[in-house]
Symmetry: C2
Subunit: 456 residues, 2 copies
């Protein structure tokens, strides 16, 4: 009898265990996973490849003959199959503007930022409203600006571009007079982002050409010629919140607000320019996705930009629009606190460390940036620029980047590239932690090697 | 005793069942799925939304207030929340070039074409080789050409663009003389793809301008001026395998091979032009991904194109490069048989049906295309063009698209858009099955309504 009982009991147990296991998996959802399963396993396997915290493996990384898995792509100065080897004689690369300081944020938010794309996703040229622009993404962009308070979007049009890069020329094109005898003069204030000139020049347009420094046109009385002024705020390289210099009926302004996010600056007030350009690259750190947008007041300018973007590339890849949508959903979760606090804290700490070192030096100095009240953080937020704009103070140090290279094996971007003196050099603070640490170490050695402390 | 035995037996069974279930899931891999799980469930849920086979829901589709799921986006002439309503008075839209005829292929290959993207995937501007181009993707592109045999890639350079669209002007830019007094003349043979002129014009470059029909320059003796000839093979709209018309030291040729795939034409031999342009849009059907590539013989031209692409958009979105990589892996599975047989069969059937209807008509005729030996299928393959180039034969039917619209509610693209007579109209055969069926029905009604059969 006892055993009959236990038999029944065990049979019950058997059923309940099976049901439980089935239930657990159904809850987890895997029970339903079908076509996405293999891709998910593949992606997680690649993500699991250890590159010693000094590199990463990508789904589309190089696969060496005989291997199945992609190779580790190591940070600067790290090598070996798993990026565990530190390369001692390697230079600290503070040259580029890769916003990898945000990469750890996305690794911490792996689940919410993961994206699964079906093979038949958005094959068409157009969205259902017959445009090249995802309505859902446009909605989220307006939301992000309203919670950050860094730009007015009410009653404005929004166009998408392949990063801010494509939008810069789309705006120059749209603001230039068509079929005019005199081309528009495109200008920017020194020091300025080199692409303004390089890009304006390469198109060799009848409608516009680059004319250099804004100040040369300050007292221009020739109202007959259109002028297009690039205003970069915060400015690349020096982080200043520039304002338009030129005014008048013949002056159009393109406000490049790539860096106007709480990571890099206090937000004193929402930007309100006629043409404002933003990019995902400096908001989420996804430079590779090539996604940017312009906020445009005037409908005719918006139409001309849209036509330009249609004939140049037929709009922005639907794949990068989908990716941007997913990333902005994470940005918006919790009112943006997570990413902006992470971004601002990281950049502030880096700036403080850089400042501490340079303040010990007689030979070098950094740009001065005053803390401002940030309407987003609702407090005076510490300075946190994307770049250090370093100056060599010694008379003989006319070529500052050469000095850094020779004396400390540091690669910066020379001032002349920004149409400033070579006495200046731009040091990137937005790259990976490895890059920043290396830069800081080499600067420390260099400065501590100076004869005598600053105030002796 | 018996019951003790059965008790033991049942306990064994219990263990083995549990182990089995665990094993199954471990095999399936779900056991390990972590950060990708939620995204996978979300994507499969959206894919499972039924739109009655006459539409689809997308991950980035519009979400109406109060709803959680995106709306169904219905095919032309279908409506209602689940696209089940047929809209009787709706026009058959044969206007656009959306390559949705391949969508069912990707739905059939859901598992192999699914893609999971990690939030931190490729945030950088550059790949590890410091370029804007994925080496793995370039490898696959060369493989696809070698198995299809439609282009020589040995000792050629490959550049990527946002669809062929961006590459057209990149090539014109690279082939134009810089700082020359006389701009290059850009020409194409009528009927030609309108973007050649519209795009060349919008940049208003000092270096080049559009000069219309190639034939006007056939006997040009002015070797002092550079000429850039667009050669489209197969041609859009008429599907002819065009060859270069102009030759000489002052002539450069851009070979637009967007349609040079077994879906649309026999492949007589590998294309061997100096500058050849291809696009994912007409190979896999993913027009929305905006991915194309150019195969370039000369290094200097390749360098000029690369510089142009860098300053225009800083290369192609890493997201669309990743997507293209995944799709080309599916294309290459089984030597491409799956997709090219599907594509060719679909297009051949559509052409046969269209021909059958039009052959009954006295009022309309179609372009003549001869079957050719296809080196890929290794047989004479049936004709399967992307477009019907319809002619109105009646003297009074001078505006053929207007005739189709008025008499049968069919929207085609008028001949004049291709710089041909409006007596011609382009009918798209590459759109969804719904679009094609609708077109065919309306043509059937129209032709059967003609007084008397053709040969009476």
């Amino acid at each position: 009898m006892v055993e009959t009982q236990s038999l029944k009991y065990v049979l019950c147990l058997l059923c309940s265990v099976i049901l439980n296991i089935i239930f657990v998996f159904k809850e987890g959802g895997e029970w339903n996973l079908s076509w996405s399963r293999i891709a998910a396993i593949e992606a997680e396997a690649v993500a699991a490849i250890s590159c010693s915290g000094h590199g990463r493996a990508y789904l589309d990384g190089l696969v060496l003959d005989g291997n199945k898995e992609p190779v580790c792509e190591c940070n600067t100065c790290y090598g070996g199959p798993d990026c565990s080897q530190f390369l001692p004689d390697c230079a600290a690369d503070a040259n580029g503007g890769d916003p990898l300081f945000l990469e750890p944020f996305w690794m911490q938010h792996a689940a919410s930022s993961a994206l699964v794309v079906a093979g038949w996703h958005r094959m068409s040229y157009k969205y259902s409203d017959n445009s090249f622009i995802s309505e859902e993404l446009e909605k989220l962009i307006r939301k992000v600006h309203s919670i950050v308070g860094n730009a007015c979007t009410d009653k404005r049009y929004i166009v998408f571009g392949a990063g801010s890069t494509q939008l810069l020329n789309a705006a120059v094109h749209a603001l230039s007079p068509d079929n005019s005898s005199s081309p528009a003069r495109v200008v920017a204030s020194i020091p300025f982002y080199p692409v303004y000139e390089l890009q304006t020049d390469i198109f060799r347009s009848v409608n516009f050409n680059f004319q250099g420094d804004t100040s040369l046109w300050k007292n221009n009385s020739d109202a007959g010629t259109e002028i297009i002024e690039f205003v970069t705020s915060p400015n690349n390289p020096d982080g200043q919140l520039n304002k338009a210099v030129l005014h008048g009926s013949n002056v159009k302004t393109i406000h490049d607000h790539a860096y106007y996010w709480s990571h890099f600056t206090a937000i004193p007030a929402p930007a309100d320019g006629d043409v404002m350009i933003f990019t995902l690259s400096k908001l989420t750190g996804h430079a590779g996705s090539r996604f940017g947008w312009a906020i445009v007041k005037d409908e005719a300018i918006y139409q001309r930009m849209s036509t330009y973007l249609a004939l140049n590339t037929m709009g922005v890849s639907r794949d990068s629009q989908l990716r941007s949508l997913k990333l902005l959903k994470v940005v918006l979760a919790g009112g943006g606190r997570d990413i902006f606090e992470f971004g601002h804290e990281t950049m502030k700490k880096r700036w403080e460390k850089l400042n501490k070192v340079i303040s010990m030096s007689k030979r070098f100095s950094l740009q001065k940036l005053a803390p401002k009240y940030c309407t987003y953080f609702q407090k005076i937020s510490g300075v946190s620029p994307a770049y250090g704009w370093l100056k060599c103070e010694k008379e003989e140090d006319k070529h500052c980047s050469a000095v850094l290279q020779a004396a400390a094996n540091i690669i910066g971007r020379e001032g002349s590239l920004f149409y400033a003196e070579d006495r200046y050099v731009r040091l990137s603070l937005i790259k990976s932690q490895d890059d920043f640490d290396l830069l800081l170490n080499k600067l420390n050695e260099l400065v501590s090697g100076e004869e005598g402390p600053k105030n002796m």
